[in-house]
């Protein structure tokens, strides 16, 4: 039982979590006239901040594992933007492993993305100007973040900072030498015009409406059940 008390003691830190919204996926351009049998598309697979902010505050490196038919299928990207451009003809699953900084987390995280080159609508003409883009939104959640982690990412736009427990103070952030670092955000990325927008508002609305309907239906059923119970009661006493 005394373990339980220890949890209570640590509860303050335990409920704190840092979440980093990311978007990962690919953009693929058909090469048109320049396409050959084995190099029909030029594609880029990437992991970016959901609001196009620089992820390198959290991510140390990204490793893209490609199909074995590629030369050196394990591609390591050491800095933001975490992306990889290649050319090919086939669609396959790419395993993306994110490695985090020491102060963040020692365990890496795996993402899986199915490379998409050909458009859904097979009947339409393929364009060299408009790429096929498939993106997935997700959030990387770090539980029980260390103080140093919290200090490092406070006020960083790429990170959803949690509400800290009352009375909790952080050490002041270590000043970063901004001039040396390359810009890692994807705001002016060449592909940024094709990036999809992910807004939770629409989904929340849809979910709220759905819940409302279900709740109404539940209330209706409950009324019907009690009605039926009333009808059955005289028989039950037999």
């Amino acid at each position: 039982m005394f373990f339980f008390c220890m949890i209570i003691v640590q509860k303050k830190m335990k409920d704190v979590e840092i979440s980093v919204p990311i978007v990962y996926g690919n953009a693929a351009f058909w090469l048109g006239k320049k396409a050959s049998e084995y190099q029909s598309h030029k594609w880029t697979v990437y992991v970016r901040g959901a609001t196009n902010e620089d992820l390198s505050v959290v991510v140390k490196r990204a490793v893209f594992q490609l199909h074995s038919s590629f030369n050196n299928p394990t591609r390591i990207v050491e800095s933001a933007p975490f992306e990889l451009t290649e050319s090919g003809w086939g669609e396959f699953e790419i395993a993306i492993t994110l490695f985090f900084h020491n102060y963040v987390c020692e365990k890496p995280l795996n993402l899986y993305h199915h490379l998409k080159l050909y458009p859904e609508d097979e009947s339409g003409p393929m364009s060299t100007k408009k790429p096929v883009v498939v993106e997935s939104y997700d959030e990387v959640v770090f539980t029980e973040p260390s103080e140093s982690f919290l200090a490092r990412v406070q006020n960083h736009p790429a990170v959803t900072f949690p509400r800290l427990p009352a009375g909790f103070t952080l050490p002041p952030p270590v000043p970063q030498d901004e001039s040396k670092r390359k810009r890692g955000d994807t705001k002016d990325h060449p592909l940024s015009q094709w990036f999809l927008n992910f807004s939770e508002a629409d989904e929340l609305l849809q979910l709220a409406a759905a819940r409302q309907q279900v709740q109404t239906h539940i209330a209706k059923l409950r009324r019907q059940i009690s009605l039926t119970d009333g009808q059955n009661q005289p028989f039950k006493s037999l």
Partner: protein, 441 residues
């Protein structure tokens, strides 16, 4: 040309003689020795190669040079105080009956209950909550029932709890012992003196025990999970603590949840685990990282763990009807929470529908008076009602369902061939379906 010639079998007369020869051999094998045939068959019939019981030994007894008789003789027991004389069969050897006490008398043990004198009572044992009469009665019962307090509590004239009785008995005995002892040191070793009865602790302990015993399986599992998790956290924290900053603020007050679970004042929570031994060497890291979609998946699976595959499919169908993505497109914390809640609500909805279905089936079978053959008819009317229910889902329109989508779905539902159902027509789907009666089938 005999068939037997072709087959190469010996001619009949020859075979008969051969059979005759083999039979007597078999007979001698079969014949039992010393026990009747039926009994022999009970042991398994024909003797095994290595007989486990030597059959010839079965009826013989070991020869004994003693003359044994059995006699009906009187006896007394030292355990009795009333000199009652009873009789029993006694094994007499060579005319000499056995000596000694009744063999079971040694088991007549009782507790040494200390009895006080009236003087001693006046001097040491008066208590505002106990009268002398009550205390006397208590001690009588204790002696009579060998300190079986549950029985004593049952028979005690005035209502008293077991703990109160125990408390009174033990404190009185303790006081008497100490009072009678020439010096305190002599009785210090006596168990009554060494470990006094602690009423409050006992009450707490029993309460906690009954709480633990009355936990449902669900709670038990949860507790086990929590404890395992706590252990894991404690261990990882111990490891992390070695490398952590010394000024990590940790309060050592214990929250309300733990007070509820307190086993008793005997347990002390050691704060030593919370202290930091050495200054930081390397900064600690976040212990766990995961993707929110993965976490949501786990939680969805956990929530639907009690549901069958069909129910899960129905939940997904409902989500589609409501135009909600089966996997959220923008899985933020809020969205995931809402999604999970929605799924749980849908499960509740489906359960209620089933419940209503059963009750209506029950009701209709009551009304038709076909109570006797209920199992068969109820099942059929339930299956019919099931079809009805799925159409009810359509009629209570979830949002905007464009016409063609509706048609597609009805065609799908017609699939499991129930041609006999009258309400499976598309037109019927938009009327309120009538209850299927047993007489319809």
């Amino acid at each position: 040309m005999d068939a037997k010639d072709i087959l190469g079998l010996p001619k009949t007369p020859l075979s008969i003689t051969q059979e005759k020869k083999s039979r007597p051999q078999k007979d001698s094998q079969r014949k039992p020795d010393g026990i009747s045939r039926e009994v022999y068959a009970l042991t398994g019939g024909v003797a095994p190669l290595m007989p486990s019981i030597d059959v010839s030994q079965l009826k013989r007894r070991p020869p004994s040079d003693e003359k044994i008789t059995w006699q009906w003789l009187p006896f007394t027991s030292s355990a009795r105080k009333d000199n009652l004389q009873l009789y029993h069969w006694v094994r007499v050897v060579n005319g000499v009956p056995p000596t000694g006490d009744y063999s079971f008398a040694k088991y007549n043990k009782s507790v040494d209950v200390i009895r006080y004198t009236d003087e001693e009572y006046e001097k040491h044992l008066t208590d505002p909550k106990w009268t002398k009469e009550e205390t006397d009665q208590l001690f009588d019962l204790c002696e009579r029932f060998d300190l079986r307090f549950i029985i004593i509590a049952d028979r005690f004239p005035t209502p008293r709890t077991v703990e109160e009785l125990k408390d009174r008995y033990y404190s009185v005995s303790r006081t008497i012992l100490v009072a009678r002892a020439p010096s305190p040191g002599e009785v210090a070793g006596h168990p009554l003196v060494k470990e006094p009865y602690n009423v409050t602790q006992e009450i707490e302990r029993k309460r906690a025990l009954s709480m633990v015993l009355s936990q449902t399986k669900h709670q038990e599992r949860k507790d086990a999970e929590v404890l395992a998790e706590a252990k894991r956290i404690a261990e990882s924290r111990m490891a992390a603590r070695a490398a952590e900053e010394p000024d990590l603020p940790i309060a050592s007050d214990i929250g309300p949840e733990s007070a509820e679970r307190a086993v008793g004042p005997g347990d002390t929570i050691s704060p030593s685990n919370v202290q930091v031994p050495a200054p930081a060497a390397a900064p600690s890291t976040s212990l766990r990282v995961y993707l929110r979609t993965y976490a949501l998946e786990q939680m969805v699976q956990a929530a639907s763990s009690s549901a069958g595959l069909r129910t899960i499919k129905r939940v997904e169908q409902t989500l589609q009807d409501l135009e909600v993505n089966l996997k959220p497109k923008v899985p933020t914390k809020a969205v995931c929470a809402e999604h999970l809640e929605l799924r749980k609500e849908i499960l509740t909805l489906l359960n209620l529908q089933k419940q209503l279905q059963y009750k209506e089936a029950e009701g209709s079978s009551f009304r038709d008076g076909s109570y006797g053959d209920m199992p068969g008819s109820a099942k059929r009317s339930q299956r019919a009602a099931d079809q009805d229910r799925t159409f009810v889902l359509d009629t209570i329109s979830f949002g905007v369902i464009p016409g063609d989508r509706g048609v597609k779905r009805e065609q799908k539902r017609k699939g499991p061939g129930r041609a006999s159902e009258t309400s499976s027509s598309p037109a019927g789907a938009h009327k309120r379906p009538r209850k299927m009666k047993a007489s319809d089938l």
